[in-house]
Symmetry: C2
Subunit: 601 residues, 2 copies
């Protein structure tokens, strides 16, 4: 049966008890599906994850990609994995059926993505990136591009990438210098350099398709002069031939973790023979890319949650089995040692991890549901779903990413010295998880996105909708004696958040945007805790209902464990908003005052 | 000149402005020294660290120890390093002069230890462990043991170790099963297994001397039946010969970080030919070992501080140089990008790191000073210094260890994607630092030590003395307008801590020790923040005095930076005690309620 890296029971609880995914099958878009199909899909994902991904977790980490003769060699299993992803329909799982997709709701497709990432994060990114790139082509590309690129990509024969970052332009995308020179032959000649391109090249596929940002020569500086191109590694020519498209791998990074996936540096058009094909309108590249980016951010949140979930189950398993020490009440040293799960401090560390991972998973799936609901609703209802999705995306990206580091670190701590050694997977999870606060927009960028953009867009309507949603859960929980106290705690925290927000808007007016956003990362942290508390209250409402309805005896401990973890979050994590709100409300703008001279010692 | 990994200016500020180390030279014990000598010693440490330790930081990480033909091979430079440590007097730096030591105060010796650890943590532990083991022999061993073992250990020719942990007895030391069988030949026959023994064997020395815990056959179970032995790898025989002492290396661990140091598994007496020599009284082994352990815990705190310090300077250097993005007020994309230190969020991350590392270093040196003062005072005054040292040791071990993970993680974040790659040292610092919450007593054990032992010993006198010390700093800062507000903030936090303590003592009476200690780790965290705030207030008082006295213009920015970082700690870190005290004051004992069944899903 192998090691446990996710809980199917918890996943089903979220999909059906909490988010009522079945309701989607009553819409036209998802009418061809039913719960049985969803269950089969999730089961198939678990099977693939157990049989092909988890077994090479350690190997892929220890034998990272290597640049050999200009080509990136990855683990030999990647080729058969890509084929399996293609054959199983995993790459196109949420694509429409008339484009070789499975037409699954985002929430079901992402539940599977979560399973793959928990089994082996590095191995899970190849199809994810391909799907994201393919979706961009499908949404914005010409029929010719769609017909040429989608089939081999969805079949897992061609890898897709997002080629944004350049050596001098990471968070500052508007500064890219890769240039597209117009020709009169239906393509652009591309020249430049890209760095940190995930799966930028590897021998597990026959071709690589970069969705690349570049500035068309002569177009304006900054973000408004950036266009999006398809830039293949090998370009298809008439007659079914392929020729090299002058995209050269200049290097592969050696990384702290996430070692199974090749992160590459690319040199493009060194021989002036690189062709790019415009996707979407000229100078609208950043807007197009952001469709993919928002999904990728949700994917990062899910990936971070997944790694921390696997670490949690490794720690739980160890804590159940490892004898060490005795209860404090036991003074006789001749009695046998107890499993460490008997120690309150170990239970605290386990509840911490569980509160993080199950809260994060719930929030990520909530965002997926909004995506699906936006696709099955119209007008104001659709707008509502889109606004909530927009508001929550930076949180769903960052909370799991930041807390994932602490959660995997606590997993190590449960193991003691053994956790620090390569004999157990937790040290790898700790390393793997550290990428998440960085890629697809750092936590700092997410903070500015949330406070500077999402909180104010549409006159703050998204923020109002969020408060409405939280209040719905509070109202429900208030009516039940067991949860009423906790509902009150969240109501207080939400009130604090609103005060902080009003205060910060005042700062914006008084001091300008830089001071307003100086502590945006902390605002993001505070909002994140409250969003997760909301998800925990929603889960508590669901668990309580299930118990009330009279669940099966073997499910009772699960629901009780849910309620216990929910209480943990409210008693140990939610109070962190006290310190954060105190900080955010004060007017000692220390970081605005600091200059580089202050750091000279 | 190479990369900066510590600030000599800050070290001098702490040693002389804050802790007035010169006062020690007015005591009989340290009367042979003066400030000039201390300065020369610190400078020599910096030179050794720069010339021999830092240059092999990366190499030692990448080429970890290997077990070859039963022997542990380490980096080839370790041998010349050990010789340099020996020749320079670094191993015996705080040993009395009549035992080949330098007779330096602990605070000066540890300032040097800090410098070595910041340059290359793995390389710094070899002499530390040797010094600790040698000190145990000197304090508790017979003249014969001292004469035989001390000279080659202090010369760096023989390695010392602490051999405590066994496969089934880590935190639960009282469960060790290594056995010492009495003989009538002046030694014991030792048999057993030890694990996680740092520097347990390596080819950089001629011999290894284990200070090993074992139970003499027939003695009581539990901690009261444990004795301490010297168990050499090669035992000296008459005529200057050495024979193998039947201590076999069964394995070397492959670790997340701290890879330059060999952590070994030992099999002892497999051929019934291992001889151990009793150190101190029979059955008093744990008490003896705890002398070394307390110093080792302080050493861990210093080591964690040192790694985070090096990471901070790497991040600072990068932030000063790396252009990325523009000020928010700058809308023109054609203007050059600014160094990232111009961004408030980056300044926040840097101030966070600096607040952690300079606060931690201050606390660690404060503990060293108490050690020295205890050696130069008598009676009640001595008792006072010892009690403060005892109380603060778990904090000085844990705060830097736990916060070191977050601090090195923020260093990575300052680098963005580059920080995740092996091209820069910060990813190694992040891995190296993760050992500290584990070794020499996990954070959970430190929490129980603080709340369950140190807070109540001598009827709570240590805790009262701590409050007195904090109040002294508060009184001084209250008298100065610039610091008065902050003094008030610390007074409030201290008041909260006293309320929490009283509440927890009530819980102890009502619910018993297990509930009392269930959240001891959080009590430790809260006390840690307050202890660091105290140290920052002491530093602010010192910086303010220096400015008032009229410092040199080039020092002014340093003192102003100090005051800014002090304010950062009070505005961003101290508020975390609000959430912690709320948690610690509530009576929802969730971890006591949780059973293993709740975790079944």
């Amino acid at each position: 049966m192998g090691a446990k890296f996710i809980s199917e029971k918890n996943l089903n609880f979220l999909l059906y008890d909490i988010f009522d995914v079945e309701r989607l099958t009553r819409s036209e878009r998802y009418g061809q599906h039913n719960k049985k199909i969803f269950t089969m899909v999730v089961n198939a994902a678990v099977t693939l994850a157990r049989s092909k991904l988890y077994p090479i977790l350690d190997e892929m980490d220890k034998n990272g990609p290597a640049l050999v003769d200009g080509k990136v060699k990855v683990h030999p299993q990647v080729r058969s994995l890509m084929a399996a992803y293609g054959e199983g329909g995993w790459i196109g799982s949420s694509f429409p059926e008339d484009h070789d997709g499975e037409g699954l709701p985002t929430i079901v497709a992402n539940a599977c993505r979560f399973i793959f990432a928990a089994a082996n994060y590095s191995a899970s990114v190849f199809p994810e990136l391909t799907a994201g790139a393919a979706e961009l082509i499908l949404t914005f590309g010409s029929k010719e591009l769609i017909d040429t690129y989608l089939p081999p990509m969805l079949a897992g024969r061609w890898q897709g990438t997002m080629a944004l970052t350049e050596p001098h332009a990471g968070s500052s995308l508007s500064d890219i210098t890769t240039t597209a020179f117009p020709t009169d032959k239906g393509f652009y000649a591309i020249k430049g350099q890209k760095t940190f391109i995930s799966a930028g090249d590897h021998d597990g596929v026959d071709n690589v398709v970069h969705l690349m940002l570049a500035r068309i020569e002569g177009e304006p500086a900054g973000s408004k002069g950036i266009s999006l191109f398809v830039v293949p590694k090998l370009r298809p020519e008439t007659g079914g031939k392929f020729v090299s498209n002058d995209v050269v791998v200049a290097g592969v990074y050696h990384k702290l973790g996430y070692r199974g996936a090749p992160i590459t540096e690319l040199s493009i058009g060194e021989k002036n023979d690189c062709r790019g094909f415009l996707v979407g309108e000229k100078n609208r590249g950043l807007a197009c890319m952001f469709q993919m980016m928002n999904e990728a951010r949700l994917g990062v949140g899910l990936g971070a949650t997944a790694i921390a979930t696997a670490a949690y189950y490794a720690a739980l398993d160890y804590a159940m089995e490892r004898p060490q020490g005795r209860r404090l009440s036991e003074k006789n040293p001749a009695t046998p040692q107890v499993p460490i799960i008997e120690h309150p401090d170990v239970k605290r560390m386990l509840l911490f991890q569980r509160a993080i991972v199950e809260g994060s998973l719930s929030l990520c799936l909530q965002c997926c549901l909004y995506t699906d609901l936006a696709k099955t609703t119209q007008g104001d209802e659709q707008q509502r779903n889109l606004l909530l999705l927009d508001l929550l995306t930076p949180i769903a990206k960052s909370y799991p990413s930041e807390m994932g580091i602490l959660s995997t670190s606590q997993a190590i701590q449960c193991f003691g010295g053994y956790g620090y050694c390569e004999d157990f997977p937790v040290e790898q999870y700790f390393r793997d998880s550290r990428i998440h606060p960085i890629h697809e927009g750092t936590t700092g960028m997410q903070g500015m996105d949330l406070l500077g953009r999402k909180m104010v867009m549409n006159n703050g309507r998204a923020a109002m909708l969020f408060v409405e949603e939280v209040n719905k859960a509070i109202a429900k929980a208030t009516a039940v004696p067991e949860t009423a106290t906790y509902a009150g705690l969240l109501a207080q925290a939400l009130e604090r958040l609103q005060q902080v927000t009003a205060h910060l808007f005042g700062v914006a007016g008084e001091k300008g945007p830089e001071t307003f956003l100086a502590d945006a990362t902390l605002f993001l942290e505070m909002t994140g805790i409250i969003a997760i508390a909301w998800q925990w209250l929603v889960q508590a409402n669901g668990a309580h209902e299930a118990i009330e309805k009279g669940c099966r005896p073997k499910d009772l401990a699960f629901y009780q464990g849910k309620l216990l973890t929910f209480r943990y979050f409210f008693r140990y994590e939610l109070p962190k908003t006290l310190g954060l709100s105190q900080r955010l409300m004060d007017k000692d703008f220390i970081t605005m005052e600091a200059t580089r001279e202050h750091f000279n010692d």
